[in-house]
Symmetry: C2
Subunit: 103 residues, 2 copies
């Protein structure tokens, strides 16, 4: 499984625009083949910092995601508004244990 | 490297208490041996849902973290207030690529 942790920081006045685009991106991404989970969060210590946590079945699914036209449009919008980032960390992740929650 | 994604949902009236305890837990955890990163976030689609993203050097460091008395106290407080969760997913994660941000 491929895990992606993405983040960027935006100025307060850009947050509504960026969050709306982020939620649209998240909802669209969840429908893409191989997307296991995709969500956007706000850093509790920096409300201008958005953090994406994504799980993909494999690298091929993630690479296909990167070239979806709407994805590249979204990435350009994020770069335009970012005061820090955007940055992505891509991991090969193997689930060792799940405690509580979904089985 | 070990990655932990933890989450729980709390009622609105408990959010301030739980967030204060979470930030204290995050700051304390960052000082522990083997803690590479530790942060708490709010789910943009569910402001009562806290999501922890943690990176640990290895499983031994994470297991030591779990038995720190303050950690077990924190976990009990989270369980008390949770309306969903808490749940943890523990991954063996290998960084494949970092795009933008810290080198």
């Amino acid at each position: 499984m491929i895990m992606v942790i993405g983040s960027l920081t935006v100025a307060p006045e850009a947050l509504d625009t960026v969050m709306a685009a982020s939620l649209e991106h998240v909802h669209r991404s969840r429908l893409e083949p191989g997307c296991l989970s995709h969500a956007v969060h706000l850093d509790a210590e920096n409300p201008g910092r958005l953090v994406f946590v994504e799980e993909w079945s494999d690298m091929a699914a993630l690479q296909a995601h990167f070239v979806v036209p709407a994805s590249t449009g979204f990435a350009a919008l994020m770069s335009k508004h970012a005061t820090e980032g955007p940055e992505l960390a891509i991991f090969d992740a193997n689930l060792l244990r799940r405690v509580g929650g979904k089985k």
